[in-house]
């Protein structure tokens, strides 16, 4: 099963996503896409590590090219999060490139190996602010990735202040 978990900042997405693996038997991989640059990223990574500790996840740090990860068969995969992955793919060489096809290809690769795949993504287009070109392109790319990922997923859940709201299928 593939589950897409979306929502805004600090809305309990990670907690919900991790909970989905509580009864999972087999190897569990956590694909971390956030690059540890800067104090805040470091703090966020530490906080997420603490949340995950003792839950049996093997951490795979992969900031781009998730389609290249070697994966055991029938594993559990938690990918967190799409917003970082998108930014990393898009801006890695200076000029922004369209990352959507590549990221979707990555998602399909994960899906082909996983018994349970949970993709954590973000809502980034709801603040109504008009941004400069690079950021506007990023918002557009995230919108497209989220729409395509929702099609690929069996279930889609939005977290609202910690409450999981089903958007596609029942709550997993």
């Amino acid at each position: 099963m593939t589950v897409l978990v979306t929502g805004g900042a600090k809305c309990g997405k990670s907690h919900f996503a991790e909970m989905l693996f509580s009864g999972f038997e087999g190897r569990k991989l956590y694909i971390a896409t956030m690059q540890p640059y800067g104090e805040e990223a470091f703090a966020a990574i530490e906080r997420h590590r603490k949340l995950r500790s003792g839950k049996g996840f093997e951490t795979v740090e992969k900031y781009t090219d998730i389609d290249e990860i070697n994966l055991p068969e029938s594993c559990g995969i938690l990918l967190e999060c799409t917003a970082n992955l998108c930014a990393n793919e898009m801006f890695k060489d200076g000029e922004p490139v369209d990352p959507t096809d590549k990221i979707l290809c990555g998602f399909r690769h994960l899906k082909s190996r996983a018994k349970l795949l949970v993709i954590v993504t973000n809502e980034v287009g709801n603040d109504g602010v008009v941004y400069e070109k690079g950021t506007a392109k990023y918002i557009e790319a995230m919108g497209e990735i989220n729409r395509r990922a929702a099609k690929l997923a069996d279930r889609v859940v939005e977290c609202v202040y910690g409450i999981p709201v089903p958007l596609k299928g029942e709550l997993p």
Binding site: K10, Y138, V160, Y161, G162, V165
Partner: protein, 127 residues
């Protein structure tokens, strides 16, 4: 406790007035009220702005929100959803956005009912 959320101008206050019979005086503005008044109010609106003021005063929004849930457990709390955009460049804005997320999670956890307003339509997401 009952929580009402949603984006800006989705009809949250109108819903609170209609459902609970609140007058304008019953609804405390979390962006400008006396902070202690929150603990006795029937209804607080714009709680995200209360979080902002607490941060400006170097107070802990997490602790304040937990106290609110303990001491005013019959209140109706209205809080906007503000976390669905681009991460702000300004550090204080980033912290506000995240602390509002955490405060909202605490309120939601302590609420017997959570309503989300979308285009004026109430959607019950808890209770």
């Amino acid at each position: 406790m009952i929580m009402i959320t949603g984006g800006a101008f989705q009809g949250k206050k109108e819903y609170a007035k209609k459902r609970f019979g609140f007058s304008n005086e019953d609804i405390l503005n979390g962006g400008s009220c006396d902070l202690d008044a929150v603990f006795n109010a029937k209804c607080v609106t714009d709680y995200q702005l209360t979080v902002k003021r607490l941060l400006e005063e170097n107070a802990d929004p997490n602790e304040f929100t937990r106290r609110l849930c303990r001491e005013n457990s019959d209140a109706v709390i209205i809080i906007n959803e503000i976390g669905g955009g681009i991460i702000p460049i300004e550090k204080s804005e980033r912290i506000w956005r995240e602390e509002t997320g955490r405060a909202g999670c605490i309120i939601a956890e302590n609420s017997r009912e959570v309503i989300r307003l979308v285009c004026g339509i109430p959607v019950k997401i808890k209770g």
